[in-house]
Amino acid sequence: MSRLKNNSCQVGKIVVFCCNYTTSVSTDTLREAGLIPENLDVKKLPCTGRIEVSALLDAFEQGAEAVFVAGCRSDECHNLSGSRRAEKRVGYTKRLLEELDIDPDRVEMFFVHRGETQPIVDAVREMTTRIAKLGQLHSI
């Protein structure tokens, strides 16, 4: 795996995959208010059901210390089972990470109430604590 590109950042890079409806507040606004770290990359998908295992692994390869998917609560998904599909793929990625000797806690699935920003911010915090506990992945 390649080295983390931006070593100067205190918190390692976190990549979030979420669906278009998860949050309406822009990441810039949240970042300015200090609610999320600088080094957070939010990738919006039409639906989290679209996520593929390769994309999650790719995020790690691109330097992520942790990756999570924030999907709609299972009863709220526009596409009925999109977020449940994502959950399955996150589970599969966890197993793959284990095989690669990487802590499976570095990838996670979160179900969040649609349109609410608090759960996302909480998820980011959760992942940040996990990284702090697990140590750096990319600094070999």
Binding site: T29, E116, T117, Q118
Partner: protein
């Protein structure tokens, strides 16, 4: 309110509801159910001991549940009646027969648990419904996170938070953690213009009150950041636009045009997301979100309607017609205020006067058969003539004054001043119990001069003068010091300096008070005739209303026929034919024995004073003298004539009224017409005139719908700045959009252009959604040209009354005295007051008629006692005073071959010009003698009073 409480002819029944209404107009029987207060208002001194001892906390409903109070309480210190009451829901004594603490501690023995609900049967002549408005449903507020997020508050709650006597004593804090606020957002149209909650109408008042609340908040804390989210900015009231622009500039309020769909919370801060006109998505965090909740129909509207036997409209408000806006569907039942439709204070007050006139019309035959009049005790000349014994009362005004000025220090200081024998502070001097207290203190200490250091004498002096009169002292023996406006408000950031200034002002007032002398109050007989100037809808309505109340009326119209602007109108907003309304009015005016119509006549000169005016009316070149007691100005306005948009140069550019007139002539007019462009705010709001003309938006939509009705495939584009279809006209706006009328908003700095090329017209406008200029080919361009004031200058000069900068007549007080002029006996209605639609003009005309009928009905008018007096011995007869008096109130005549000046007391307005110009100081002003003013000035310099 206090005034209503003091009137001997108004009986106030609290906690009461109407149960049944039987009978016919003039002879109703109303059954009223009244819940007990459990505290006798006659005995209660409002001391507050019961609240202090009650062990049961309950939420304070008056303070929007933001505070805790106790079972026995008073909503606020100025409440009328100024008596505490017991909320039976949580009372231990009432529910469990225990406790009884309050009754034991009440020294006045006012608490009476044996009170039972009362069933009253009242014989009445007319019914006025004024139940106000209902509140926005919680489910609507919940959509914006209200109830879930503590810092999402309603505008009513915010109002309490900004109030000095409110739950936080005026400190602006987040409700979640009581930390200071930094950034606030106001969301408009919550529960208004929202079909999802069934409220399709516009609540009319929220835009302006949000601006007001934002301004007040900025006054509290200049560092606050405030954003207001509007759909349209609807500040259409008289002077409102100017006030809004001032506030935006002075306080740096951010105005954002977007409707926020929901509120999100992150770490206790509130996140708002919106999209701008050009499609950009924005989000920001705020500390507090204020929901500008709209006005609903009252909660029990249906019950009221059933009991009173009246109809409601589809939103649950009382149904009225454009030509009779104050009459409910049952005869003898009238409606005023927000129950008739959402409206602001000036319109509510106007309607209130209007319904009083309606009731007075109905009951004019039995006037004064059941009233009692207030009598005052004989003046105690003995006390008055003693040397000055001054009492000083310093008011806290809650924390309005006391929050800044050290009231105790001012009180103690006042006690050290010469001739001051008594000084005392009061929480609210104007509350009923405080007035009682002041009266007892004056009597008990044999005070004969009183200084009240409180708020403005303009609003409150009469109240304190009444108090003096009620205990046998002359009303002129009082001096007011305005330590609220002049100290705590303007110097709110410098409490110590404010306190020093308050002391200075009190010292000056005491110096003046030492020299105050009693003044005689005189009354004059009123000649029982009214002069109504202007024969339009407002003038005719006012004249008829006065006549129906039993007084003669002279209606003067400049042109050769009655009708004014109503003659040009074709349809009213509710679809009636305007000509029918007009014909009906003219028929009633012509047929009324008490109305004398003078056509082609003009008022050239007016002299006299309330009760005794004499006007010279020129008719056919011949002046006619008319004696009358009061004047109603209903001179109207006129359609503005713009110079822009090729108006007057291209015959296909019309005004809305011209379009209406053409449409009335028949469908042929629309042959070959496919595209129509309407342009709003031509002339209004900055082009030719600074004011908003209030009615053009609704008028344009009314005409657009008419066009669509005649020719459904006609294309109509409406270019606007803010669509101000306030109130129920919003329904028509919605209908127009449904029928395919296209609305394009433009900014004032990029106004549309009318371009002529090869005989065709196109209108070029910058479309903010497309971010590009578009050209619309138009077969017709229709301009909303707005209402310009009539030629008011000449009449204003004759009547010596001021005009607004826009050229309309200026009322005595925008909110509280909207149909009276500052000069007594002169009243105002219709377009002469400001632009307004027909129904509002009619309501206002009724209101002016109500006010005008007061001196006529009393038969006597009191003359102000602050008048000039000439010392004949000192007068040298130079005549300077006579030449300078703006009211012709001072005349020279010969006494023993010498010329001497004399004041015509009833004409004198007390301006003091004569006194200040008299070379021999022979003229002095009642209440403002030279000696008293000099003493005041000396006191300012800190010298010992002379």
């Amino acid at each position: 309110m206090v005034e209503a409480g003091r009137s001997p002819n108004i009986e106030i029944l609290t906690s009461a509801r109407l149960e049944a209404l039987e009978g016919k107009p003039g002879r109703f029987t109303a059954s009223v159910h009244q819940e007990p207060r459990f505290i006798d208002d006659d005995k209660c001194t409002a001391c507050g001991t019961c609240t202090m001892y009650c062990p049961m906390p309950i939420v304070d409903l008056f303070n929007e549940r933001l505070n805790i109070t106790r079972v026995p309480h008073i909503d606020y210190a100025q409440a009328v009646p100024t008596s505490y009451y017991i909320d039976p829901r949580a009372c231990l004594r009432i529910n469990y027969e225990t406790c009884n603490l309050c009754a034991q501690t009440c020294t006045a023995q006012a608490i009476d648990f044996s009170q039972k609900p009362r069933e009253l049967s009242l014989d009445i002549g007319a019914v006025i419904l004024a139940p106000g408005f209902g509140r926005t449903d919680l489910s609507v507020l919940a959509k914006y996170g209200y109830g879930r997020f503590l810092n999402v508050v309603t505008s009513m709650e915010f109002e309490r938070l900004t109030c000095a006597s409110g739950p936080t004593e005026g400190r602006l804090v987040r409700l979640s953690d009581r930390k200071p606020l930094k950034k606030i957002a106001f969301l408009q149209c919550v529960g208004s213009r929202d079909e999802t909650c069934g409220n399709g109408y516009c609540s009319s008042v929220c835009c302006m009150y949000a601006i007001k609340e934002a301004s007040v908040a900025k006054e509290h804390d200049p560092d606050l950041e405030i954003a207001l989210f509007f759909m349209d900015v609807r500040t259409q009231g008289k002077g409102f636009d100017a006030a809004r622009e001032r506030a935006e500039e002075k306080y740096g309020l951010r105005v954002i045009r977007a409707r926020i769909p929901r509120v999100d919370q992150v770490d206790g801060r509130l996140a708002l997301t919106w999209t701008t006109d050009d499609g950009k998505s924005c989000s920001e965090l705020f500390d507090m979100v204020v929901l500008s909740e709209g006005l609903n129909a009252p909660k029990d509207a249906e019950a009221i309607a059933e009991i009173a036997g009246i109809e409601l409209n589809h939103y649950g408000f009382c149904r009225t017609l454009v030509d009779s806006p104050l009459a409910a569907s049952r005869k003898g039942v009238y409606v005023a205020g927000a129950f008739q439709g959402p409206k602001d204070i000036p319109e509510s007050v106007t309607q209130a006067s209007g319904v009083a006139a309606m009731a007075s019309e109905l009951l004019s035959e039995v006037r004064n058969t059941q009233t009692v009049s207030l009598s005052y005790p004989e003046e105690d000349k003995a006390i008055e003539s003693e040397g000055p014994r001054i009492g000083v009362f310093v008011c806290h005004c809650g924390s309005n004054i006391a929050g800044v000025v050290d009231v105790d220090a001012v009180r103690d200081y006042a006690g050290t001043l010469p001739d001051v024998v008594f000084s005392r502070d009061t929480l609210y001097s104007c509350s009923q119990d405080a007035l009682k207290g002041i009266a007892t203190k004056i009597k008990g200490n044999r005070l004969n001069r009183v200084v009240i250091a409180a708020c403005s004498p303009r609003t409150h002096e009469p109240l304190f003068q009444e108090t003096l009169r009620s205990i046998g002292l002359n009303a002129a023996l009082i001096e007011m010091v305005n330590i609220r406006d002049q100290c705590s408000w303007v110097h709110s950031q410098e409490p110590e300096a404010a306190t020093e200034k308050a002391k200075d002002l009190v010292r000056m007032a005491v110096a003046k008070a030492r020299l105050l002398e009693p003044l005689e109050k005189t009354t004059v007989d009123v000649s029982p005739t009214a002069l109504v100037i202007g024969g339009g809808a407002a003038g005719m309505t006012a004249a008829l209303c006065i006549a129906e109340q039993g007084f003669e009326c002279v209606l003067v119209e400049r042109s050769d026929q009655l009708g004014g602007n109503l003659r040009r109108l074709v349809w009213t907003m509710d679809g009636q034919e305007a000509s029918k309304v007009l014909d009906d009015l003219i028929k009633r005016v012509d047929g009324h024995p008490m109305v004398r119509v003078m056509l082609e006549a003009q008022v050239k000169d007016v002299s006299g004073y309330v009760g005794n005016f004499t006007s010279s009316i020129v008719k056919g070149g011949q002046p006619v003298a008319v004696d009358h007691g009061v004047i109603v100005i209903a001179t109207g306005g006129r359609e503005n004539r713009p110079k822009s948009y090729k108006y007057g140069r291209n015959k296909r550019v019309l005004t809305q009224l011209e379009l209406e007139e053409s449409l009335a002539k028949g469908k042929g007019f629309l042959k070959n017409i496919k595209n129509i462009v309407m342009i709003q705010c031509v002339g209004s709001r900055g082009e030719d005139m600074s004011h908003c003309s209030r009615l053009c938006c609704a008028q344009a939509i009314k005409n657009a719908l008419k066009l669509k009705g005649i020719k459904p495939n006609i294309r109509i584009y409406c270019l606007y700045r803010d669509m101000r279809t306030y109130g129920f006209s919003e329904d028509l706006f919605k209908e127009a959009r449904k029928k395919g009328v296209i609305f394009i908003r433009y900014e004032p700095d990029r106004r549309p252009e009318v371009i002529e090329r090869d005989g065709r017209i196109k209108v070029r406008v910058f479309d903010r959604l497309l971010e590009d200029e578009i050209d619309i080919f138009a077969c017709l361009v229709v301009l909303s040209v707005g209402i310009a004031p009539g030629d008011n200058d000449a009449l204003a000069r004759v009547l010596k009354t001021p005009l607004t900068p826009e050229g309309f007549f200026l009322e005595a007080h925008v909110k509280l005295r909207p149909v009276e002029l500052a000069s007594e006996g002169i009243y105002l209605c219709g377009l002469a007051h400001g632009p307004k639609p027909l129904d509002e003009s009619i309501a206002q005309a009724k209101a002016a008629a109500a006010k005008a009928a007061i001196p006529l009905a009393k038969g006597q008018a009191e003359v102000a006692s602050t008048v000039s007096r000439v010392d004949k011995a000192a007068c040298i007869g130079c005549g300077v005073c006579e030449s300078l008096c703006p009211f012709n109130a001072i005349r020279l005549f010969r006494v023993n071959k010498r010329r001497k000046a004399e004041t015509i007391t009833a004409s004198c307005k007390g301006c003091g010009i004569c006194a200040s110009h008299c070379p021999t100081l022979a003229i002095s002003m009642g209440g403002f003698t030279d000696e008293a003013i000099m003493a005041q000035i000396h006191a300012f310099a800190g010298e010992k009073c002379v």
